[in-house]
């Protein structure tokens, strides 16, 4: 098996790595780059815990090969806050207790960020369908939806 040399941008930083052809972006992020914020809940694109944004598209990083990141812009949970300053979604997730165990939280935050970038004033239904690719088993989604609604309001100003 021949390794693939990849040159990409992750959270604004230029990154180079060598990965196997069948290695997923999730494996690269977690095992090669130490970015363990994206989680593997299923490995088959059914839970959304590994969500990242690649060139403005929300994707499951378990369904993207590491090799495909060549020349692209990857955003992960680690790049969401600016230093000490949390993103409004992160702040509202904390305030609303929109997490219990927290394993799905990075995926939800990334998915919600993508949702609000495309639809700054979503209805409850739009939020629910927009986040349907992210499974949460603890909260019943109630507080997650409220946190996203609240953050959307803050972000609209």
């Amino acid at each position: 098996m021949a390794g693939v040399a990849v040159s990409t941008t992750i959270n604004g930083d230029h990154v180079e790595y060598l990965c196997q052809p069948d290695e997923t972006l999730l494996e690269v992020l977690r095992d090669r780059l130490g970015l363990t914020g994206a989680k593997e809940g299923c490995g088959t694109g059914d839970c959304g815990a590994c969500s990242v944004i690649v060139d403005d598209r929300l994707v499951c990083s378990c369904l993207v090969l590491g090799a495909e990141a060549e020349g692209r812009q990857v955003e992960t949970i680690e790049g969401m806050a600016h230093g000490e300053k949390l993103h409004p979604l992160q702040q509202k997730f904390l305030e609303h207790a929109a997490l219990q165990c927290g394993i799905c939280t990075p995926g939800f935050l990334i998915a919600a960020k993508d949702l609000l970038a495309k639809n700054p004033d979503p209805t409850e239904e739009e939020i629910r369908f927009g986040l349907a690719g992210n499974l949460c088993r603890c909260t019943g989604y109630d507080k997650i939806v409220r946190a996203v609604q609240d953050a959307a309001g803050v972000m609209r100003g």
Binding site: M1, A2, V4, Q20, P21, D22, T24, G43, T44, G45, D46, G48, S51, V54, R57, L58, V59, C60, C62, L63, V64, L65, A67, E68, E70, A111, D114, L115, F129, G130, L131, A132, G133, N134
Partner: protein, 286 residues
């Protein structure tokens, strides 16, 4: 195992022809990577076709639309002209997977995965869509319904790649719709589904119809009898009842973890009726 990213379709076809062992085409990867993860396939060569520029475009031509094989379904939904012309095909494509999967998955991938439950396929078949196949001996254009031959199998020969899906330019008074049944509101594979495409005459009478059912047989079903029921009608209650009966009768479903034979038969008829009603409204019928 090797990963390559050809820049032309000719190069991709050449690599595919020359591959020793298994080669896999990678567009959205939402089926391929799942199968690799499960250990069902271990390709020796992965050919990523996303660097082939032409494959990543939706082109509006004099004849209609050409949708490149690497166009993610989310992009279909963002194309206003396509959405207006073929709302049923677009809504079917938009039903595949989650937002995350939408950014990756393609209708060609959905077709070539050859699952009887593929969402976009009945809608494409109802729409009379065609596939442009590039191969070692040039290009050919075939009907979408001739691609899947059995669950997981296609009619494509070694070295062949579908490079685009063609949809006709819309006549006036035409409409299509696609509906599927899933137990949840999202994230499921269709238990059974129906795509309907209609054109009407000036009086609102159905002039032509195509009805396709998904997850109702080993491959997508184009139910000609159902089309015959619709043609000449204004979709009155009796017609819809007959449509449901004909569709239920045409099904050759199985019992599995997603549904029973009885359930699929009954719901195929229900969905065909509902999809026909929506298609009729979209075509301007009342």
């Amino acid at each position: 195992m090797r990963y390559i990213r050809p820049l032309t379709i000719e190069d991709a076809v050449g690599q595919l022809v020359g591959a020793s062992g298994t080669a896999a085409i990678l567009a959205g990867g939402s089926d391929l990577l799942v199968r690799m993860k499960g250990g069902f396939v271990e390709p020796d060569l992965i050919i990523d076709i996303k660097a082939i520029d032409a494959l990543s475009e939706i082109r509006e031509t004099a004849e209609g639309f050409s949708i490149g094989a690497a166009v993610p379904c989310a992009v279909l939904g963002e194309n206003k002209a396509l959405r207006q012309a073929w709302p049923g095909v677009v809504e079917a494509a938009k039903l595949i997977g989650s937002k995350q999967v939408q950014g990756r998955c393609t209708i060609v991938g959905n077709l070539c995965n050859a699952s009887p439950a593929a969402d976009s396929v009945p809608a494409m078949v109802a729409a009379g869509a065609k596939a442009v196949v590039a191969g070692p001996s040039g290009k050919r254009t075939i009907a979408v319904e001739s691609v899947p031959t059995a669950p997981g199998r296609t009619s494509l020969a070694k070295g062949e790649i579908i490079e685009a899906i063609l949809l006709d330019k819309r006549e006036p008074r035409a409409g299509d719709a696609y509906l599927r049944f899933i137990p949840r509101t999202e994230m499921d594979i269709a238990v059974v589904s129906a795509g309907v495409n209609l054109t009407l005459d000036e009086a609102g009478v159905v002039k032509t119809a195509r009805v396709a059912l998904g997850a109702a047989a080993p491959t997508v079903l184009l139910v000609e009898e159902a089309a015959e029921v619709l043609v000449g009608s204004r979709l009155d209650e009796a017609t819809l009842e007959r449509l449901a009966k004909v569709c239920a009768g045409a099904c050759r479903p199985i019992d599995d973890k997603r549904g029973t034979i009885e359930f699929r038969r009954k719901v195929a008829g229900v969905l065909a009726g509902r999809a026909a009603t929506t298609a009729y409204e979209r075509a301007g019928g009342k």
